[in-house]
Amino acid sequence: MNAFSRALWNPIVAKEYRSRMRTWRSPLAMTIYIVLLGGLGWAVFAAISNNGAGFGLPSSGGNYGQILFTFLILFQVALLAFITPALTAGAISGERERQTIDLLFVTRIPPFSIIWGKLLSSMSFVVLLLLLSIPIFSLVFLFGGIELDQVLYAFLVTGVTALMLGLVGIAFSTLFRRTLAATVASYGAAFVLVVGTPVYGLLFPTDVNPSATTLPAPPAIAILSPVLPLLTIATNQSIQGYGVRYPGGGFATSTGSCVVQSGSTACVPVGAIPGKGAPVNVSGISNSTTTIPSGLFSGWQYWQASVVMQLVICAFALALSAFVLPPVRRLRLRGRPKPALAAE
């Protein structure tokens, strides 16, 4: 067995699979997951077929598909944001509480492999849930309006989000001795990462420079959450008026920007500066409306920026866990205490 196979299939993974799948909790969690996702799909379908205009869209199959997909993918992320911390927050702290962690440390399995095994087994369950959701998502194709690549990108973002939340959970599980504390911290972090960052974009939008030659973009941190990228993937357009603030209280749209003045709204097309009227040449920006027009990730797709930022957090959480977990660390944060005097 080579190093890669060993890393992929270390004993922890096999043991975790056995332990996890022998309880009633896993089938129950899968059932609830499918019932909730399917239930939401049915509810959205029922609502739009009865009153498509209620969603502000003309009644057509393509729009039905897009609406259904948007609801399903966002709900899936929300469900995974609840499930993933529960899978990983007890990964290491649970071993401490069961007092089995020392027994692993005295074997030849390196601490990193312990983390890797725990992560792999937890993520396998997430992948299983994602696979289970495919039949429900396939209903979207009955209506059309969603391409296969949109589904793939959306699942990629969802998977990476689950990975990030899983690794954050493992990091907290390594840091805290108690599973309860690790679970609370993991859910707190999940809330901040998934909900908090878009809220940050609302509260602290990018101030538009009137003399800029590019369109404004929301703060980069707001794109970290999977919500924005998934919305742009599902709707195939940027989120209008989100995350930017014009002097005078204007907002941006996918086709231009608007300024609210004295009760009336004046809009100018893409590439024009509000208040100045004439369009300017915006070079280097893709024609696609789902690209980020400016800022740190200028020219990137929203989902690309989100995935990269999430992977950076994954790497940080993994490195932190690998540093904290070993019982005897080679690197020390603090100096050693001085030895006591010999016995009196």
Partner: protein, 308 residues
């Protein structure tokens, strides 16, 4: 096989270990005795490379526990003072999991697990969930886990803790068998009489300091201040006590309802002189024996005062 040199471990301002040193040769069973909080577990955790000492060094088969942790882990079987079992795993799977963690080839693991289960008498429980075993059987399963990679050294932290007398006897027999297989064993306990019979060497630790270490008989002899004699006589005990009191090898004669007790310092010739003095004086001696002090007395003495 095991060498501990000037080991010190400080938590904050408290010294859990204070310059502890001892050696355990190959194939010996070293009894590590001390009250709760004396530093036994800390020492064993350092030897298992689970804890870094503040100062000092420790070696397992020449491998430094702070530098050659992989070598140390391959040479030791560590059994902490708790069970450490997983739910939803059978006894066979539990042992196979740890065998896999020691990177033993899959083809060999099945035989190793079966052999170990036979050794500790758990063959018929192989398919039972390990979490549902009784306390004594869990302890045996944990011992089997520590043996899964055939280590030369066993570090056993209070293996008999919480076991009923029958399970303790069974555990003791298994440990004797392991010693016969050539293992070097350190066993910590505060259940002293068990160690008297089982161990070849002993170390008494208290408040992080090693009070005495060496072969069991030697440590006991060093720590017990003189031997005590119990003498039963027919007739007035006071007369016999009066004969004993002036003898140079006798001190502190006490007369009880049933017998006479006295502290004795001397060799075998002095013993026969005492008996001769009594019989010459016409005292009818019905019983003449030495009171066994054993490890319990040595332990109490060592942990209550400084040993010179």
């Amino acid at each position: 096989m095991i060498a501990v040199e000037d080991l010190t471990k400080i938590y904050g301002t408290r010294a859990a270990l204070d310059h502890v040193s001892f050696e355990v040769p190959e194939r010996e069973i070293f009894g590590f005795v001390g009250p709760n909080g004396a530093g036994k577990t800390t020492t064993l955790r350092i030897l298992a490379a689970l804890l870094a000492p503040t100062q000092g060094r420790a070696f397992i088969g020449g491998a430094d526990v702070t530098k050659d942790r992989d070598k140390v882990h391959s040479r030791i079987g560590y059994m902490p003072d708790f069970f450490g079992v997983y739910d939803q795993l059978t006894v066979g799977e539990y042992l196979d999991f740890y065998a896999a963690c020691y990177q033993l080839p899959k083809q060999r693991r099945q035989k190793i697990v079966d052999d170990l289960l036979a050794l500790i008498g758990l063959s018929e429980r192989k398919g039972q969930l390990v979490d549902t075993l009784s306390r004594g059987l869990k302890q045996r399963a944990c011992l089997a886990r520590a043996l899964v990679h055939d280590p030369a050294v066993l570090l056993l932290d209070e293996p008999a803790s919480g076991l009923d007398p029958r399970a303790r006897v069974e555990m003791r027999e298994i440990l004797k068998e392991l010693r016969g297989m050539g293992k070097t064993i350190i066993i910590s306990s505060h259940i002293l009489p068990e160690l008297t019979e089982l161990c070849t060497m002993i170390g008494i630790i208290d408040h992080g300091r090693m009070r005495a270490t060496g072969p069991v008989a030697e440590v006991i002899a060093r720590l017990t201040s003189g031997r005590r004699l119990r003498i039963k006589v027919r007739g007035p005990k006071e007369e016999a006590a009066a004969i004993l009191a002036p003898l140079p090898s006798i001190q502190n004669v006490e007369v009880t309802d049933s017998h006479i007790e006295a502290e004795f310092k001397g060799d075998e010739a002095a013993v026969s002189e005492i008996l001769l003095a009594l019989t010459t004086a016409g005292v009818q001696v019905t019983s003449f024996s030495e009171i066994e002090g054993g490890l319990e007395d040595a332990f109490l003495k060592a942990t209550s005062e400084e040993v010179g």
